[in-house]
Symmetry: C2
Subunit: 238 residues, 2 copies
Amino acid sequence: MPEILDPQSPRLPRPALPGLDGVSPQIRQAILASGQSARLEGGQVLFRQDDPARRCYLVRRGRLKLVKLHEQGKEAVFRYIGPGEITAAVAVFKEKAYPLTAVAIGDTEVAGWDRGTIMALLRQHPDLALHLLQVVVERLDEVQTRYLELSAEQVQQRLARALLRIMKHSGRRTAEGILIDFPLSRQELADYTGTTLFTVSRTLSAWEKNGWVASGRERITITDPHALVKFSETGETD
Amino acid sequence: MPEILDPQSPRLPRPALPGLDGVSPQIRQAILASGQSARLEGGQVLFRQDDPARRCYLVRRGRLKLVKLHEQGKEAVFRYIGPGEITAAVAVFKEKAYPLTAVAIGDTEVAGWDRGTIMALLRQHPDLALHLLQVVVERLDEVQTRYLELSAEQVQQRLARALLRIMKHSGRRTAEGILIDFPLSRQELADYTGTTLFTVSRTLSAWEKNGWVASGRERITITDPHALVKFSETGETD
DNA sequence: CGACGCATTGACAGGGCTCAATTTAAGTGG
DNA sequence: CCACTTAAATTGAGCCCTGTCAATGCGTCG
Protein backbone atom coordinates (compact mmCIF):
# COMPACT_ATOMS: atom_id res chain seq x y z
CA MET A 1 0.00 0.00 0.00
CA PRO A 2 1.70 3.20 -1.19
CA GLU A 3 1.99 6.48 0.63
CA ILE A 4 0.00 8.84 -1.52
CA LEU A 5 0.93 11.98 0.30
CA ASP A 6 3.83 14.32 0.53
CA PRO A 7 4.88 14.33 4.20
CA GLN A 8 6.01 17.92 3.79
CA SER A 9 2.56 19.31 3.11
CA PRO A 10 0.92 20.61 6.27
CA ARG A 11 -2.08 19.04 7.95
CA LEU A 12 -5.01 21.29 8.50
CA PRO A 13 -5.39 22.67 12.00
CA ARG A 14 -8.11 20.69 13.74
CA PRO A 15 -10.04 21.15 16.96
CA ALA A 16 -8.38 19.10 19.70
CA LEU A 17 -10.39 16.65 21.71
CA PRO A 18 -9.74 13.07 20.73
CA GLY A 19 -7.65 10.60 22.61
CA LEU A 20 -5.98 11.41 25.84
CA ASP A 21 -6.22 15.18 25.79
CA GLY A 22 -7.66 16.44 29.00
CA VAL A 23 -5.12 14.76 31.23
CA SER A 24 -1.69 16.08 32.08
CA PRO A 25 1.28 15.11 29.83
CA GLN A 26 3.06 12.91 32.36
CA ILE A 27 -0.11 10.95 33.12
CA ARG A 28 -0.69 10.58 29.42
CA GLN A 29 2.80 9.15 29.09
CA ALA A 30 2.14 6.66 31.87
CA ILE A 31 -1.14 5.58 30.30
CA LEU A 32 0.41 5.18 26.89
CA ALA A 33 3.18 3.10 28.36
CA SER A 34 0.65 0.77 29.99
CA GLY A 35 -0.98 -0.06 26.66
CA GLN A 36 -0.10 -3.10 24.59
CA SER A 37 0.69 -2.26 21.04
CA ALA A 38 -0.16 -4.14 17.87
CA ARG A 39 0.61 -3.75 14.19
CA LEU A 40 -1.88 -4.23 11.37
CA GLU A 41 -1.53 -4.19 7.65
CA GLY A 42 -4.03 -2.73 5.21
CA GLY A 43 -7.40 -4.46 5.22
CA GLN A 44 -6.78 -6.31 8.45
CA VAL A 45 -9.61 -6.29 10.99
CA LEU A 46 -8.81 -4.98 14.47
CA PHE A 47 -12.17 -5.87 15.99
CA ARG A 48 -15.43 -7.12 14.58
CA GLN A 49 -18.96 -5.97 15.39
CA ASP A 50 -20.94 -8.37 17.63
CA ASP A 51 -17.74 -9.82 19.08
CA PRO A 52 -17.59 -9.28 22.83
CA ALA A 53 -15.89 -5.96 23.51
CA ARG A 54 -12.75 -6.74 25.45
CA ARG A 55 -10.28 -4.00 24.62
CA CYS A 56 -10.28 -0.31 23.84
CA TYR A 57 -7.79 1.15 21.38
CA LEU A 58 -5.82 4.25 20.49
CA VAL A 59 -4.35 4.74 17.03
CA ARG A 60 -0.65 5.53 17.14
CA ARG A 61 0.21 5.44 13.45
CA GLY A 62 -1.82 4.92 10.28
CA ARG A 63 -5.57 4.90 10.07
CA LEU A 64 -8.64 2.87 10.98
CA LYS A 65 -11.97 2.71 9.20
CA LEU A 66 -14.97 2.25 11.50
CA VAL A 67 -17.87 0.61 9.68
CA LYS A 68 -21.06 -1.27 10.37
CA LEU A 69 -21.85 -4.18 8.10
CA HIS A 70 -25.32 -5.13 6.97
CA GLU A 71 -26.49 -8.66 6.25
CA GLN A 72 -26.85 -8.27 2.51
CA GLY A 73 -23.33 -7.05 1.87
CA LYS A 74 -23.83 -3.33 2.25
CA GLU A 75 -21.82 -1.34 4.74
CA ALA A 76 -21.97 2.08 6.33
CA VAL A 77 -18.75 3.96 7.08
CA PHE A 78 -18.94 6.01 10.26
CA ARG A 79 -15.48 7.42 10.74
CA TYR A 80 -11.90 7.34 9.63
CA ILE A 81 -9.68 7.80 12.65
CA GLY A 82 -6.00 8.61 12.79
CA PRO A 83 -3.11 9.02 15.25
CA GLY A 84 -4.15 10.11 18.72
CA GLU A 85 -7.78 9.06 18.41
CA ILE A 86 -9.42 6.41 20.55
CA THR A 87 -12.16 3.95 19.76
CA ALA A 88 -14.18 1.12 21.29
CA ALA A 89 -15.18 2.96 24.43
CA VAL A 90 -17.87 0.29 24.82
CA ALA A 91 -15.16 -1.97 26.11
CA VAL A 92 -15.67 -0.15 29.39
CA PHE A 93 -18.86 -2.14 29.96
CA LYS A 94 -19.06 -5.83 30.41
CA GLU A 95 -21.72 -7.77 28.58
CA LYS A 96 -21.66 -5.55 25.53
CA ALA A 97 -20.40 -6.31 22.04
CA TYR A 98 -18.54 -3.98 19.70
CA PRO A 99 -21.15 -2.04 17.72
CA LEU A 100 -18.77 -1.45 14.81
CA THR A 101 -16.04 -3.19 12.88
CA ALA A 102 -12.58 -1.60 12.69
CA VAL A 103 -10.42 -2.15 9.61
CA ALA A 104 -6.90 -0.88 9.04
CA ILE A 105 -6.25 1.38 6.06
CA GLY A 106 -2.66 0.80 5.14
CA ASP A 107 -0.12 -0.19 7.76
CA THR A 108 -1.36 0.85 11.16
CA GLU A 109 -0.18 0.67 14.73
CA VAL A 110 -2.48 0.78 17.75
CA ALA A 111 -2.23 0.64 21.52
CA GLY A 112 -4.83 -1.39 23.40
CA TRP A 113 -6.04 -1.71 26.99
CA ASP A 114 -8.23 -4.44 28.34
CA ARG A 115 -11.33 -3.79 30.39
CA GLY A 116 -9.69 -4.17 33.77
CA THR A 117 -6.94 -1.72 32.94
CA ILE A 118 -9.36 0.85 31.60
CA MET A 119 -11.57 0.63 34.64
CA ALA A 120 -8.58 1.12 36.89
CA LEU A 121 -7.44 4.11 34.84
CA LEU A 122 -10.90 5.66 34.94
CA ARG A 123 -11.07 5.25 38.69
CA GLN A 124 -7.59 6.74 39.15
CA HIS A 125 -8.25 9.68 36.84
CA PRO A 126 -11.79 11.04 37.08
CA ASP A 127 -10.91 13.65 34.46
CA LEU A 128 -10.38 10.81 32.05
CA ALA A 129 -13.91 9.49 32.59
CA LEU A 130 -15.39 12.90 31.94
CA HIS A 131 -13.24 13.26 28.85
CA LEU A 132 -14.37 9.89 27.60
CA LEU A 133 -17.99 10.88 28.16
CA GLN A 134 -17.30 14.02 26.16
CA VAL A 135 -15.83 12.02 23.27
CA VAL A 136 -18.83 9.71 23.19
CA VAL A 137 -21.28 12.61 23.30
CA GLU A 138 -19.39 14.25 20.46
CA ARG A 139 -19.75 11.14 18.32
CA LEU A 140 -23.41 10.75 19.18
CA ASP A 141 -23.93 14.28 18.00
CA GLU A 142 -22.17 13.63 14.71
CA VAL A 143 -24.10 10.45 13.98
CA GLN A 144 -27.39 12.16 14.72
CA THR A 145 -26.47 14.97 12.38
CA ARG A 146 -25.56 12.55 9.63
CA TYR A 147 -28.76 10.60 10.25
CA LEU A 148 -30.80 13.72 9.69
CA GLU A 149 -28.88 14.51 6.52
CA LEU A 150 -29.35 10.99 5.24
CA SER A 151 -33.09 11.19 5.76
CA ALA A 152 -33.61 14.75 4.50
CA GLU A 153 -31.07 15.48 1.77
CA GLN A 154 -30.34 14.17 -1.67
CA VAL A 155 -27.25 12.22 -2.59
CA GLN A 156 -25.20 15.07 -4.03
CA GLN A 157 -25.66 17.28 -1.01
CA ARG A 158 -24.69 14.46 1.31
CA LEU A 159 -21.68 13.74 -0.82
CA ALA A 160 -20.56 17.36 -0.56
CA ARG A 161 -20.92 17.22 3.22
CA ALA A 162 -19.01 13.95 3.34
CA LEU A 163 -16.08 15.35 1.39
CA LEU A 164 -15.95 18.43 3.58
CA ARG A 165 -16.18 16.40 6.77
CA ILE A 166 -13.40 14.04 5.71
CA MET A 167 -11.40 17.00 4.46
CA LYS A 168 -11.62 18.79 7.81
CA HIS A 169 -10.56 15.66 9.61
CA SER A 170 -7.93 14.31 7.24
CA GLY A 171 -7.09 17.13 4.87
CA ARG A 172 -3.62 18.22 3.86
CA ARG A 173 -2.93 21.45 2.05
CA THR A 174 -1.22 21.11 -1.34
CA ALA A 175 -0.59 23.32 -4.34
CA GLU A 176 -3.78 22.13 -6.05
CA GLY A 177 -6.06 22.43 -3.04
CA ILE A 178 -6.79 20.26 -0.03
CA LEU A 179 -5.88 16.64 -0.50
CA ILE A 180 -7.51 13.84 1.43
CA ASP A 181 -4.82 12.18 3.43
CA PHE A 182 -5.41 8.52 2.62
CA PRO A 183 -6.57 6.28 -0.26
CA LEU A 184 -10.32 6.75 -0.65
CA SER A 185 -12.17 4.92 -3.42
CA ARG A 186 -15.54 5.74 -4.97
CA GLN A 187 -16.96 2.69 -3.27
CA GLU A 188 -15.78 3.89 0.14
CA LEU A 189 -17.28 7.30 -0.41
CA ALA A 190 -20.51 5.62 -1.45
CA ASP A 191 -20.53 3.58 1.76
CA TYR A 192 -19.87 6.76 3.70
CA THR A 193 -22.79 8.62 2.12
CA GLY A 194 -25.27 5.83 1.68
CA THR A 195 -25.28 5.64 -2.10
CA THR A 196 -23.59 3.68 -4.89
CA LEU A 197 -20.16 4.00 -6.43
CA PHE A 198 -21.83 4.89 -9.74
CA THR A 199 -23.58 7.93 -8.39
CA VAL A 200 -20.39 9.03 -6.65
CA SER A 201 -18.43 8.64 -9.86
CA ARG A 202 -20.93 10.64 -11.90
CA THR A 203 -21.05 13.38 -9.31
CA LEU A 204 -17.29 13.70 -8.99
CA SER A 205 -17.02 13.86 -12.77
CA ALA A 206 -19.47 16.74 -12.83
CA TRP A 207 -17.67 18.55 -10.01
CA GLU A 208 -14.38 18.05 -11.75
CA LYS A 209 -15.82 19.94 -14.73
CA ASN A 210 -16.92 22.73 -12.36
CA GLY A 211 -13.41 22.91 -10.96
CA TRP A 212 -14.61 22.00 -7.44
CA VAL A 213 -12.49 18.88 -7.10
CA ALA A 214 -9.67 17.03 -8.80
CA SER A 215 -9.62 13.29 -8.40
CA GLY A 216 -7.84 10.17 -9.48
CA ARG A 217 -7.64 6.59 -8.44
CA GLU A 218 -8.45 6.47 -4.71
CA ARG A 219 -7.28 10.04 -4.45
CA ILE A 220 -9.35 13.20 -4.05
CA THR A 221 -8.38 16.85 -3.81
CA ILE A 222 -10.87 19.58 -3.03
CA THR A 223 -9.87 22.50 -5.22
CA ASP A 224 -12.75 24.85 -4.41
CA PRO A 225 -13.85 24.25 -0.82
CA HIS A 226 -15.90 27.44 -0.79
CA ALA A 227 -18.12 26.35 -3.66
CA LEU A 228 -18.54 22.94 -2.09
CA VAL A 229 -19.54 24.44 1.25
CA LYS A 230 -22.14 26.60 -0.40
CA PHE A 231 -23.57 23.63 -2.25
CA SER A 232 -23.52 21.44 0.85
CA GLU A 233 -25.66 23.96 2.70
CA THR A 234 -28.25 24.72 0.07
CA GLY A 235 -28.20 21.74 -2.27
CA GLU A 236 -28.66 24.22 -5.10
CA THR A 237 -26.45 24.41 -8.17
CA ASP A 238 -26.74 28.20 -8.61
CA MET B 1 -55.48 15.61 24.35
CA PRO B 2 -57.31 12.41 25.24
CA GLU B 3 -55.90 9.39 26.98
CA ILE B 4 -56.07 6.73 24.34
CA LEU B 5 -55.15 3.87 26.55
CA ASP B 6 -56.76 1.69 29.15
CA PRO B 7 -54.70 2.10 32.33
CA GLN B 8 -55.56 -1.46 33.26
CA SER B 9 -53.72 -3.05 30.36
CA PRO B 10 -50.22 -4.05 31.33
CA ARG B 11 -47.05 -2.46 30.00
CA LEU B 12 -44.62 -4.79 28.38
CA PRO B 13 -41.66 -5.79 30.52
CA ARG B 14 -38.66 -3.78 29.38
CA PRO B 15 -34.96 -3.99 30.08
CA ALA B 16 -34.09 -1.58 32.85
CA LEU B 17 -31.33 0.96 32.36
CA PRO B 18 -32.65 4.47 31.83
CA GLY B 19 -32.72 7.22 34.34
CA LEU B 20 -31.32 6.86 37.78
CA ASP B 21 -31.04 3.09 37.97
CA GLY B 22 -27.63 2.06 39.13
CA VAL B 23 -27.66 4.09 42.30
CA SER B 24 -29.20 3.06 45.58
CA PRO B 25 -32.87 3.94 46.26
CA GLN B 26 -32.21 6.47 49.00
CA ILE B 27 -29.69 8.35 46.88
CA ARG B 28 -32.13 8.29 44.01
CA GLN B 29 -34.71 9.86 46.30
CA ALA B 30 -32.30 12.58 47.31
CA ILE B 31 -31.40 13.32 43.72
CA LEU B 32 -34.99 13.43 42.63
CA ALA B 33 -35.79 15.80 45.46
CA SER B 34 -33.02 18.16 44.35
CA GLY B 35 -34.51 18.56 40.88
CA GLN B 36 -36.79 21.40 39.89
CA SER B 37 -39.97 20.23 38.27
CA ALA B 38 -41.87 21.73 35.38
CA ARG B 39 -45.14 21.01 33.63
CA LEU B 40 -45.67 21.05 29.87
CA GLU B 41 -48.72 20.63 27.74
CA GLY B 42 -48.86 18.77 24.43
CA GLY B 43 -46.75 20.34 21.70
CA GLN B 44 -44.79 22.55 24.06
CA VAL B 45 -41.03 22.67 23.55
CA LEU B 46 -38.85 21.79 26.54
CA PHE B 47 -35.56 22.65 24.89
CA ARG B 48 -34.55 23.56 21.39
CA GLN B 49 -31.58 22.34 19.36
CA ASP B 50 -28.73 24.86 19.06
CA ASP B 51 -29.78 26.61 22.25
CA PRO B 52 -27.00 26.50 24.84
CA ALA B 53 -27.43 23.36 26.95
CA ARG B 54 -28.08 24.49 30.50
CA ARG B 55 -30.17 21.79 32.10
CA CYS B 56 -30.59 18.07 32.00
CA TYR B 57 -34.01 16.46 32.45
CA LEU B 58 -35.82 13.39 33.67
CA VAL B 59 -39.38 12.61 32.62
CA ARG B 60 -41.67 12.04 35.57
CA ARG B 61 -45.02 11.77 33.82
CA GLY B 62 -46.13 11.85 30.18
CA ARG B 63 -43.83 11.65 27.23
CA LEU B 64 -41.22 13.62 25.27
CA LYS B 65 -40.41 13.40 21.60
CA LEU B 66 -36.73 13.98 20.73
CA VAL B 67 -36.29 15.26 17.20
CA LYS B 68 -33.78 17.04 15.03
CA LEU B 69 -35.13 19.66 12.66
CA HIS B 70 -33.76 20.30 9.20
CA GLU B 71 -33.69 23.67 7.49
CA GLN B 72 -36.25 22.86 4.82
CA GLY B 73 -39.01 21.78 7.19
CA LYS B 74 -38.23 18.10 7.47
CA GLU B 75 -37.56 16.49 10.80
CA ALA B 76 -36.09 13.24 12.09
CA VAL B 77 -37.53 11.61 15.21
CA PHE B 78 -34.90 9.90 17.34
CA ARG B 79 -36.74 8.73 20.42
CA TYR B 80 -39.91 8.86 22.41
CA ILE B 81 -39.05 8.83 26.09
CA GLY B 82 -41.33 8.23 29.05
CA PRO B 83 -41.32 8.23 32.86
CA GLY B 84 -37.95 7.45 34.42
CA GLU B 85 -35.88 8.29 31.38
CA ILE B 86 -33.31 11.06 31.24
CA THR B 87 -32.25 13.30 28.39
CA ALA B 88 -29.92 16.16 27.55
CA ALA B 89 -26.81 14.61 29.02
CA VAL B 90 -24.88 17.17 26.96
CA ALA B 91 -25.79 19.69 29.59
CA VAL B 92 -22.88 18.21 31.51
CA PHE B 93 -20.49 20.09 29.27
CA LYS B 94 -20.18 23.81 29.00
CA GLU B 95 -19.89 25.38 25.59
CA LYS B 96 -22.14 22.86 23.90
CA ALA B 97 -25.65 23.31 22.53
CA TYR B 98 -28.51 20.83 22.66
CA PRO B 99 -28.20 18.57 19.62
CA LEU B 100 -31.93 17.81 19.62
CA THR B 101 -35.26 19.47 20.25
CA ALA B 102 -37.58 18.04 22.91
CA VAL B 103 -41.34 18.37 22.49
CA ALA B 104 -44.01 17.21 24.92
CA ILE B 105 -46.58 14.68 23.73
CA GLY B 106 -49.64 15.33 25.80
CA ASP B 107 -49.37 16.74 29.31
CA THR B 108 -45.95 16.02 30.67
CA GLU B 109 -44.02 16.62 33.86
CA VAL B 110 -40.24 16.73 34.08
CA ALA B 111 -37.56 17.27 36.69
CA GLY B 112 -34.53 19.35 35.71
CA TRP B 113 -31.05 20.00 37.08
CA ASP B 114 -28.70 22.74 36.00
CA ARG B 115 -25.10 22.13 35.04
CA GLY B 116 -23.62 22.96 38.42
CA THR B 117 -25.93 20.58 40.24
CA ILE B 118 -25.26 17.76 37.82
CA MET B 119 -21.52 18.18 38.08
CA ALA B 120 -21.74 18.08 41.86
CA LEU B 121 -23.89 14.95 41.71
CA LEU B 122 -21.50 13.24 39.33
CA ARG B 123 -18.57 14.03 41.58
CA GLN B 124 -20.40 12.77 44.64
CA HIS B 125 -21.59 9.57 42.98
CA PRO B 126 -19.03 8.07 40.60
CA ASP B 127 -21.46 5.26 39.84
CA LEU B 128 -23.77 7.84 38.40
CA ALA B 129 -21.13 9.04 35.94
CA LEU B 130 -20.50 5.50 34.76
CA HIS B 131 -24.22 4.93 34.43
CA LEU B 132 -24.58 8.09 32.41
CA LEU B 133 -21.75 6.98 30.16
CA GLN B 134 -23.56 3.70 29.70
CA VAL B 135 -26.81 5.44 28.73
CA VAL B 136 -25.01 7.59 26.18
CA VAL B 137 -23.19 4.60 24.69
CA GLU B 138 -26.50 2.76 24.46
CA ARG B 139 -28.03 5.61 22.49
CA LEU B 140 -25.01 5.93 20.24
CA ASP B 141 -25.39 2.26 19.44
CA GLU B 142 -29.06 2.64 18.59
CA VAL B 143 -28.51 5.63 16.32
CA GLN B 144 -25.71 3.85 14.49
CA THR B 145 -27.96 0.85 13.97
CA ARG B 146 -30.74 3.01 12.63
CA TYR B 147 -28.27 4.85 10.41
CA LEU B 148 -27.22 1.59 8.83
CA GLU B 149 -30.83 0.56 8.32
CA LEU B 150 -31.66 3.90 6.76
CA SER B 151 -28.84 3.57 4.29
CA ALA B 152 -29.28 -0.12 3.46
CA GLU B 153 -32.95 -1.01 3.70
CA GLN B 154 -36.12 -0.06 1.89
CA VAL B 155 -38.91 1.92 3.43
CA GLN B 156 -41.21 -0.93 4.37
CA GLN B 157 -38.52 -2.83 6.18
CA ARG B 158 -37.52 0.26 8.11
CA LEU B 159 -41.14 0.91 8.94
CA ALA B 160 -41.50 -2.60 10.35
CA ARG B 161 -38.41 -2.08 12.47
CA ALA B 162 -39.71 1.28 13.66
CA LEU B 163 -43.03 -0.16 14.78
CA LEU B 164 -41.32 -2.99 16.61
CA ARG B 165 -38.85 -0.65 18.27
CA ILE B 166 -41.56 1.71 19.45
CA MET B 167 -43.68 -1.24 20.47
CA LYS B 168 -40.93 -2.67 22.65
CA HIS B 169 -40.39 0.67 24.28
CA SER B 170 -43.96 1.89 24.59
CA GLY B 171 -46.18 -1.11 23.99
CA ARG B 172 -49.14 -2.15 26.08
CA ARG B 173 -50.83 -5.49 25.77
CA THR B 174 -54.52 -5.42 24.86
CA ALA B 175 -57.10 -7.91 23.64
CA GLU B 176 -56.37 -7.06 20.00
CA GLY B 177 -52.60 -7.16 20.26
CA ILE B 178 -49.94 -4.73 21.41
CA LEU B 179 -51.04 -1.13 21.40
CA ILE B 180 -48.66 1.77 21.10
CA ASP B 181 -48.97 3.77 24.25
CA PHE B 182 -49.39 7.29 22.90
CA PRO B 183 -50.91 9.14 19.92
CA LEU B 184 -48.75 8.44 16.89
CA SER B 185 -49.73 9.86 13.50
CA ARG B 186 -48.68 8.70 10.04
CA GLN B 187 -46.60 11.85 9.74
CA GLU B 188 -44.72 11.10 12.96
CA LEU B 189 -44.00 7.57 11.83
CA ALA B 190 -42.75 8.98 8.55
CA ASP B 191 -40.42 11.33 10.39
CA TYR B 192 -39.23 8.41 12.47
CA THR B 193 -38.42 6.25 9.45
CA GLY B 194 -37.27 8.87 6.97
CA THR B 195 -40.14 8.64 4.53
CA THR B 196 -43.45 10.39 3.80
CA LEU B 197 -46.83 10.08 5.43
CA PHE B 198 -48.22 8.76 2.13
CA THR B 199 -45.92 5.80 2.00
CA VAL B 200 -46.62 5.04 5.65
CA SER B 201 -50.35 5.19 5.03
CA ARG B 202 -50.19 2.87 2.04
CA THR B 203 -48.00 0.40 3.90
CA LEU B 204 -50.20 0.32 6.99
CA SER B 205 -53.23 -0.23 4.77
CA ALA B 206 -51.53 -3.21 3.19
CA TRP B 207 -50.49 -4.63 6.56
CA GLU B 208 -53.98 -4.15 7.88
CA LYS B 209 -55.20 -6.41 5.06
CA ASN B 210 -52.58 -8.98 6.07
CA GLY B 211 -53.76 -8.83 9.63
CA TRP B 212 -50.39 -7.63 10.91
CA VAL B 213 -51.65 -4.38 12.40
CA ALA B 214 -54.86 -2.58 13.24
CA SER B 215 -54.77 1.17 13.12
CA GLY B 216 -56.89 4.25 13.47
CA ARG B 217 -56.39 7.94 13.87
CA GLU B 218 -53.06 8.40 15.66
CA ARG B 219 -53.43 4.93 17.08
CA ILE B 220 -51.65 1.73 16.13
CA THR B 221 -51.93 -1.82 17.40
CA ILE B 222 -49.58 -4.58 16.32
CA THR B 223 -51.77 -7.65 15.97
CA ASP B 224 -49.16 -10.04 14.57
CA PRO B 225 -45.75 -9.14 15.99
CA HIS B 226 -44.25 -12.39 14.80
CA ALA B 227 -45.02 -11.73 11.15
CA LEU B 228 -43.72 -8.20 11.50
CA VAL B 229 -40.48 -9.39 13.04
CA LYS B 230 -39.94 -11.83 10.24
CA PHE B 231 -40.54 -9.15 7.64
CA SER B 232 -38.33 -6.65 9.44
CA GLU B 233 -35.42 -9.07 9.27
CA THR B 234 -35.70 -10.23 5.70
CA GLY B 235 -37.64 -7.52 3.91
CA GLU B 236 -39.38 -10.27 2.00
CA THR B 237 -43.11 -10.66 1.67
CA ASP B 238 -43.13 -14.48 1.56
C1' DC C 1 3.36 -6.42 -21.06
C1' DG C 2 -0.50 -8.56 -19.20
C1' DA C 3 -3.72 -8.74 -15.54
C1' DC C 4 -6.30 -7.09 -12.05
C1' DG C 5 -8.93 -3.65 -9.79
C1' DC C 6 -10.80 0.90 -9.94
C1' DA C 7 -13.36 4.26 -12.54
C1' DT C 8 -16.40 5.88 -16.28
C1' DT C 9 -20.47 6.10 -18.97
C1' DG C 10 -24.87 4.74 -20.93
C1' DA C 11 -29.43 2.63 -20.92
C1' DC C 12 -33.14 1.29 -18.23
C1' DA C 13 -36.42 0.67 -14.68
C1' DG C 14 -38.50 1.02 -10.29
C1' DG C 15 -39.17 2.56 -5.57
C1' DG C 16 -40.89 6.14 -3.47
C1' DC C 17 -41.87 11.22 -3.50
C1' DT C 18 -45.07 14.95 -5.02
C1' DC C 19 -49.44 16.81 -5.54
C1' DA C 20 -54.38 16.84 -5.68
C1' DA C 21 -58.85 15.15 -4.56
C1' DT C 22 -61.65 12.74 -1.27
C1' DT C 23 -62.99 10.34 2.75
C1' DT C 24 -63.07 9.53 7.58
C1' DA C 25 -62.97 10.66 12.28
C1' DA C 26 -62.58 13.63 16.27
C1' DG C 27 -63.67 17.79 18.57
C1' DT C 28 -66.88 22.00 19.20
C1' DG C 29 -70.70 24.87 19.79
C1' DG C 30 -75.49 25.73 19.62
C1' DC D 1 -77.62 15.37 19.93
C1' DC D 2 -76.68 17.10 15.51
C1' DA D 3 -74.48 20.28 12.31
C1' DC D 4 -70.20 22.26 11.56
C1' DT D 5 -65.17 22.65 11.57
C1' DT D 6 -60.79 20.95 11.35
C1' DA D 7 -57.13 17.69 11.05
C1' DA D 8 -55.74 13.04 9.89
C1' DA D 9 -55.86 9.48 6.63
C1' DT D 10 -56.64 7.36 2.07
C1' DT D 11 -55.99 6.73 -2.70
C1' DG D 12 -54.62 7.56 -7.47
C1' DA D 13 -51.65 9.45 -11.18
C1' DG D 14 -47.29 10.94 -12.72
C1' DC D 15 -42.58 11.47 -12.64
C1' DC D 16 -37.86 11.89 -11.08
C1' DC D 17 -33.95 10.59 -8.62
C1' DT D 18 -31.01 7.13 -8.14
C1' DG D 19 -30.07 2.16 -8.05
C1' DT D 20 -29.02 -1.75 -11.25
C1' DC D 21 -26.53 -3.88 -14.82
C1' DA D 22 -23.35 -4.18 -18.66
C1' DA D 23 -19.63 -2.66 -21.41
C1' DT D 24 -15.49 -0.21 -21.70
C1' DG D 25 -11.51 2.54 -20.37
C1' DC D 26 -7.51 3.32 -17.62
C1' DG D 27 -3.86 3.23 -14.05
C1' DT D 28 -0.75 0.29 -11.25
C1' DC D 29 1.81 -3.42 -10.13
C1' DG D 30 3.80 -7.84 -10.59
